[in-house]
């Protein structure tokens, strides 16, 4: 691995880690489990387009493990992992298909993150009624996915030279 790549990984993981922390400080006015800003997802989207699909995967998993052990109850990590993995998978597929721009891919990522979490939650307590949260979570995924996608576009535009040089 090139030194620059290692540095980039470190930088992005630290950034995602801090975003997760900041996010845990922001109170969410909706009493629906899983409604989040998804700030850390901004880093994953930027990494996916700036570094690559594989790098985004590593970043996402490392972030979830770190955050799970530090800020949250490790037993809730299974929800983050389910959301993170499904979100990464869907974003990777739709990025490859080139149907949508970064905004569309980010929306798909946001919504599939919530769907992944809901599936695990349903299995975890064996309550299919949780599916009633899905419409609320889709609204959340749509709004945060759009914002994250637009932000990621701005970030990548400014970091373009940096990433080009890296490749």
């Amino acid at each position: 691995m090139k030194p620059k790549r290692i540095a980039l990984y470190g930088l992005f993981i630290a950034l995602a880690f801090i975003f997760s922390y900041i996010e845990s400080l922001i109170p969410i006015p909706f009493p629906v489990p899983g409604v989040k800003l998804g700030l850390a997802n901004l880093v994953v989207v930027v990494a996916m387009y700036g570094m690559g699909v594989k790098e985004a995967f590593v970043l996402s998993i490392v972030r979830i493990l770190l955050v799970g052990f530090t800020f949250r109850d490790p037993s809730t990590m299974i929800f983050s992992l389910a959301g993170g993995l499904l979100s990464w998978l869907m974003m990777a597929v739709f990025k490859k298909l080139k149907l949508f721009s970064m905004v569309g891919v980010s929306i798909i990522g946001g919504i599939s993150h919530n769907i992944g979490q809901i599936i695990v939650a349903i299995l975890y307590v064996n309550n299919t009624s949780i599916i009633y949260y899905l419409p609320f979570l889709m609204v959340s995924g749509l709004v945060s996915g759009t914002l994250i996608g637009l932000l990621a576009g701005l970030v990548l535009k400014r970091l373009q030279k940096f990433f080009l040089y890296e490749k």
């Binding site: 629906v32 929800f79 149907l99 569309g104 929306i107 309550n127 419409p135 889709m138 749509l142």
Partner: protein, 121 residues
């Protein structure tokens, strides 16, 4: 943004609107309250009998539910996020309040009484 992104957003908004409509159109009043702990039915209540009940688990976790005038809510919980408490009152069939960290949920069900009432009407 591409044109396809706009289509995607519209499509998702359409799906969301439809699912909200379905939920509101098919909701019906419930009559029973089920308390489920770790995938097992723990206790059952009548939705029309005002009461409070404390769920105490062997691992020390606790939740308190309150049933009042046909509504249920979680008033206390030992979990860290307290999302279940913040959710407030529920009353319709199949609605539920889930406390994921404690593996506890309360759900409204129709039960036999509900069905009898519906026939009587």
């Amino acid at each position: 943004m591409k044109k396809n992104d706009i289509f995607l957003i519209c499509g998702i908004i359409f799906i969301i609107a439809c699912s909200f409509l379905l939920v509101f159109a098919f909701r019906s009043e419930g009559s029973r309250v089920l308390v489920v702990v770790d995938k097992e039915v723990y206790k059952e209540f009548d939705l029309n009998e005002n009461t409070t009940y404390e769920i105490r688990q062997e691992n020390g976790e606790r939740n308190v539910i309150e049933i009042k005038d046909g509504y249920v809510r979680m008033t206390e919980a030992s979990c860290p996020d307290k999302l279940c408490v913040k959710q407030g009152w529920i009353r319709y069939n199949y609605e539920s309040i889930t406390c994921l960290p404690n593996k506890v949920y309360v759900r409204i069900s129709g039960g036999e009484e509900g069905e009898l009432d519906a026939v009587a009407e």
